[in-house]
Symmetry: C2
Subunit: 213 residues, 2 copies
């Protein structure tokens, strides 16, 4: 495809990193344009009007050559952007059950993993504990317990196979690696999760791997 | 495929309904086995051991005929189960961008729609407002505002097209219809969202449509 890919991102975001790691593992060139979410740079009228009316990053911008000239399309949601890059590659199995099972882990990531682990990391690492609201403080123990439950489930799944979907790395691993490998920044102790720690090492040794900036 | 499909479900759950609606629109037979989540029937040792170690429904069970006999596989996560049923059908576009854009709405559903709208519906309709904890009560205004923001985004998206991904019904509509069409049970006023109300009517008139039980 004659298309140019630009990732609208905040480099501190694990959701943005997922997309960069997918592109790196596939050898796909990806330009980036950076925003500071703490300064509200994804809530400006320009961003809301042209990039994403939902006011969030990441957004993958796809510019293609068409008969009538250039066309630009925008894809929000980190896991959807990963899917766009990786569909048809070795990172997405073709077997119907295996493909649905991969998506199972990506939906789990957005529902049970990211809202707990990424949110605690954002609060503790970037907002700062002393700046949290009373409501945020009250939510912390529940998010801590739910994050630990998500890790326990992953650790159990990885007890008898090297990757979440079996014998090879897929998008499911990339999606869940992003915030798992920086869970210490969210205050999680990973000592009990031996399979998870081995899985992190395994992914970091993948040819083409790129670290989070 | 010579396979038998069984949905492990609680009929009150919109996440379970998504799968039944997908199967109905595709004319696929689907057996069901029912659990009462309020009685903890998805947290029993039997359920955790045999059906889903995450202790949640829905789970789609797929029994196939194989050379050595029967095999049973289990697929948790509502949207992954919908994908398994619908991949390759008219409910999932084949174009790479359109397919990723469909998933964009399904991830949005799990991240910004379901945790607000489905949770408020569960608390108000099934747990009962008087039985809520202080923490749940404190979370209600935030979930109310986030649910309204999700509806506003969908309403804006539907202003110039009949379905979320364009001119035809896809899994994105099914995933987001499930809890949107019962949002009144979660205390939402839908009067401001004219495009959303028309979209609900449109989906209910689809040949093969089945209502939530």
């Amino acid at each position: 495809m004659a298309e140019r890919l630009t990732l609208h991102e905040d480099p501190r975001s694990g959701n943005c990193y997922k997309i960069k790691l997918t592109a790196a593992l596939l050898g796909q060139p990806l330009q980036t344009r950076q925003y500071d979410i703490l300064k509200g740079e994804t809530r400006t009228p320009d961003f809301l009007g042209a990039i994403n009316s939902n006011g969030r990053i990441p957004v993958l911008q796809i510019v293609g050559d068409e008969a009538g000239g250039k066309s630009a399309r925008f894809l929000p949601e980190s896991n959807a952007a990963c899917w766009y890059l990786a569909a048809g590659s070795h990172l997405v199995p073709g077997d119907p059950f295996e493909q649905a099972n991969l998506l199972r882990w990506m939906f789990f990531e957005q529902y049970q993993h990211e809202p707990n682990i990424a949110t605690l990391r954002f609060w503790l690492r970037f907002v700062g504990e002393r700046n949290l609201s009373d409501e945020q403080r009250m939510l912390m123990p529940g998010k801590r317990a739910a994050g630990e439950a998500a890790f326990a489930l992953m650790d159990q799944e990885l007890a008898d196979k090297p990757y979440l979907c079996g014998h090879s790395l897929t998008l499911a691993d990339i999606a869940l690696f992003a915030y798992t490998h920086v869970a210490h920044e969210a205050g999680f102790e990973m000592g009990d999760f031996a399979h998870l720690r081995e899985w992190i090492d395994r992914i970091e040794q993948t040819p083409g791997f790129t670290p989070m900036s």
